[in-house]
C-alpha cells in the first residue's frame, strides 16, 4: 500500500528528479567502474578499463558482492569518496 504525501514546495520542479549534468570532459576526473557481479560483466569492464587508460584517464575498479542485492553502504561511500563519475551495468 502506498502512502500519499502533499508537496510542501512551490512546485517549480518536476516530481521526477532530473539526472545530474554530465561532465563536458573526463580529463582530470576519476572514473569508477562498478562490476555488479553478473557473469562476464568483468570481461566488458576490463575492455572499457583498458580503453580509458589508453586515453590517459584514471580508473578505479569496484565490485558488488552479488547482483541480487543493492550495493553495501561501505562500497557506495568508497565510490562517492574517490570517484567523479561511475559506470555501472544494470543487467546482462
Amino acid at each position: 500500500m502506498t502512502e500519499t504525501l502533499y508537496d510542501p514546495t512551490g512546485e517549480f520542479a518536476p516530481l521526477r528528479r532530473a539526472p545530474l549534468a554530465k561532465p563536458a570532459s573526463l580529463a582530470g576526473l576519476t572514473i569508477g567502474l562498478l562490476d555488479i557481479s553478473k557473469s562476464r560483466g568483468d570481461v566488458f569492464l576490463d575492455h572499457l578499463d583498458q580503453l580509458l587508460r589508453d586515453e590517459g584517464l584514471t580508473v578505479k575498479r569496484y565490485k558488488k558482492p552479488t547482483f541480487t542485492r543493492p550495493a553495501p553502504v561501505d562500497l557506495l561511500q568508497d565510490i562517492a569518496s574517490h570517484c567523479d563519475v561511475v559506470v555501472e551495468g544494470l543487467a546482462d
Binding site: T2, E3, T4, Y6, D7, P8, G10, F12
Partner: protein
C-alpha cells in the same frame, strides 16, 4: 444526503443508553411510525426491522451526530427536529407516542458518537467533507519509509520531518479561520505564491502542533514584509537567519519557553515554530544552503530560532514598544546570528553593567566596525534585576548603551592599522544606528549573564528591519 421519511435513530451497541432504548425503538416501529435505525458498530445489534449499517460512519458524519442515541424527525426529506440521548418527555414529544418508554428512567445521557472520535473525525472530513488539499500529491513508493522519502525529495533541513499526510494537514488547517488558498505573499528566492496551505504543510513537517499555526502564519507574514528583506537575508554570505520573538498570551497558551535555556533546545513550540518558518523558506521559496543561501558559515539557529519574552518584569514588552498591547499576541522577526554571552557577575549598579554590556557590544562583527549590524540584547533576569532595583527603564538602558558604544575614529584600523585609516580623527562614531539596539527580557533565574544576538550586516532601507505582526485566528 437523502434522508428516509419518518424517524431516524443513530445508535451503537457499545453504548448502554442505546441498549436501553432498543425496546423503545421497537415500540415506535410497532406503533406504525416509519423508523430507520443507523448503527455505527454492530449491524446485528438493533432489534428493529429497518436497519442501515453505518460502520463507514458516512451517515453519522453527514448528520453531524455527536452523541448516540440521536433521534431525528424527517419530513419531505428535511430534518424537522432531533433529540439527543434518552430524555423521555422529548422522545414522547418528537414521536407523539404518549406512553413511550414508561418502563425506563426519565433520563439517561447518551455516549459519544464514533464519528467524532479523535483520529476518526479527520478521516471522515477528508472522505465525505468538502475539504480538499490543493498541493500536488506525491506517492511514497511501496515499501519505502515516508520519513526517508522526505529526505530524498529534498524537503528536509537535515533533521527528520513529519511526513505531511492528508490527516495531519487537515488537523493543522483546523487551527486557523484563514482559507487554505489565501496567499501570504511571494516567497523568495523563487517568488512562489506562499499560501496558508503551504505553510500548514511545512508546519506539519516541522513538528508543530496545530495550535502553533497562527504564530507560524504571523511569522511568515512578518518575514514576507518587504521591510524584512527576506530575499537578501536568506541569500547573504553573512551568518544571519530569521529569528522570531513571541509576546502576549500566546506564550503561555502554546507552552513556550522564556526561562532557562530559552535560546536552546527542549521546548516544542520554540523549536518547531522557528523551524516551520525556515522549512517554508526552504521548500516554498527554494532557499537552500549552497544554492541561493550562500551563507559562508550559517549558524545552528538557522534550523529554527524562536523564543518568548519574559513579560513579568517592570519593563514594557517588545511587542508593546512596537504597537501591540499586552493583551494581544504578536511575533517580531529579526535577522539574527548565533547568541554571544556577556558575563558580568560583579556589577551591582546600572552604570557598571552598562560598561560591561557596551564593551561586549563594541566588538560585534569586527572590533573596528561602526554602523554595522543591529543587535538584540537579551537581558537575563539577574542582570535585569540590577536595572530594575535602580529604577532604570528599558529606554534608560537603551540610551546608555548607545552612548557607551561610540568608538573614536582614530581607533579604527580595519585593513591597515589603528590611526592609519584615511580621514580618521578623534571624533566619535556610533557603533549602532539609532534604533539599532533592541532589548528583550528572557532567561533562567541563575546566572549574571546576558545574550547578545547580532543581526545581518545590511540593515535599514538597504537591508533588513525588524517586523512585528499580531497573531490572529
Amino acid at each position: 444526503m437523502h434522508l428516509p421519511e419518518g424517524l431516524i435513530a443513530i445508535v451503537k451497541q457499545d453504548c448502554p443508553t442505546c441498549v436501553l432504548v432498543d425496546p423503545v425503538l421497537r415500540h415506535i416501529e410497532a406503533s406504525g411510525l416509519p423508523l430507520t435505525v443507523y448503527v455505527q458498530d454492530e449491524p446485528d445489534f438493533p432489534s428493529t426491522r429497518q436497519v442501515v449499517d453505518d460502520r463507514s460512519l458516512e451517515a453519522s458524519y453527514r448528520l453531524h451526530i455527536e452523541t448516540v442515541p440521536t433521534l431525528i424527525k424527517v419530513r419531505d426529506g428535511q430534518e424537522q427536529a432531533r433529540v439527543v440521548g434518552w430524555e423521555r418527555d422529548e422522545w414522547r414529544a418528537l414521536t407523539g407516542l404518549a406512553a413511550l418508554g414508561g418502563e425506563l428512567p426519565a433520563y439517561r445521557p447518551g455516549c459519544g458518537s464514533l464519528a467524532v472520535q479523535p483520529g476518526i473525525a479527520e478521516r471522515l472530513a477528508l472522505k465525505y467533507g468538502d475539504f480538499s488539499i490543493h498541493s500536488r500529491e506525491v506517492e511514497v513508493p511501496t515499501l519505502s519509509d515516508s520519513t526517508e522519502y522526505c529526505f530524498e525529495r529534498g524537503w528536509s533541513d537535515g533533521l527528520p520531518v513529519v511526513p505531511p499526510t492528508a490527516e495531519r494537514i487537515y488537523r493543522m488547517l483546523q487551527a486557523t479561520t484563514r482559507a487554505p488558498g489565501e496567499v501570504l505573499g511571494a516567497m523568495p528566492p523563487l517568488l512562489t505564491a506562499c499560501t496558508v496551505e503551504k505553510v500548514a504543510i511545512n508546519a506539519v513537517m516541522a513538528g508543530c502542533k496545530p495550535e502553533y499555526l497562527q504564530a507560524v502564519l504571523a511569522a511568515v507574514e512578518a518575514a514576507l514584509d518587504p521591510a524584512f528583506c527576506l530575499h537578501g537575508l536568506l541569500a547573504t554570505t553573512w551568518f544571519s537567519g530569521p529569528m522570531i520573538v513571541v509576546n502576549g498570551p500566546a506564550r503561555k497558551a502554546l507552552g513556550m519557553n522564556w526561562a532557562g535555556n530559552v535560546l536552546g533546545q527542549g521546548n516544542r513550540a520554540n523549536a518547531t515554530i522557528g523551524r516551520a518558518l525556515q522549512l517554508t523558506v526552504r521548500n516554498v521559496g527554494g532557499g537552500k544552503p549552497q544554492e541561493t543561501d550562500m551563507s559562508t558559515f550559517g549558524h545552528p539557529g538557522k534550523l529554527g530560532f524562536c523564543f518568548a519574552e519574559d513579560e513579568d518584569t517592570p519593563w514594557t514588552t517588545l511587542a508593546e514598544d512596537r504597537g501591540v498591547s499586552r493583551e494581544r499576541s504578536a511575533v517580531t522577526v529579526f535577522s539574527a546570528d548565533g547568541p554571544l554571552g556577556c558575563a558580568d557577575q560583579k556589577s551591582r549598579t546600572p552604570e557598571a553593567l552598562i560598561y560591561s554590556l557596551a564593551g561586549s557590544l563594541r566588538g560585534l562583527n569586527h572590533v573596528d566596525m561602526v554602523n554595522g549590524a543591529d543587535a538584540v540584547v537579551v537581558i537575563g533576569p539577574e542582570h535585569g534585576r540590577v536595572f530594575d532595583l535602580a529604577g532604570w527603564s528599558k529606554d534608560d538602558v537603551t540610551r546608555a548603551l548607545h552612548a557607551a558604544t561610540h568608538i573614536k575614529g582614530v581607533d579604527l584600523g580595519m585593513g591597515t592599522a589603528p590611526g592609519a585609516v584615511a580621514g580618521s580623527d578623534a571624533g566619535l562614531r556610533a557603533k549602532f544606528r539609532p534604533g539599532g539596539l533592541t532589548l528583550v527580557r528572557a532567561g533562567g533565574q541563575a546566572g549574571m549573564f546576558s545574550a547578545i544576538i547580532p543581526g545581518w550586516l545590511v540593515k535599514g532601507e538597504l537591508g533588513t528591519d525588524p517586523v512585528t505582526r499580531e497573531i490572529r485566528a
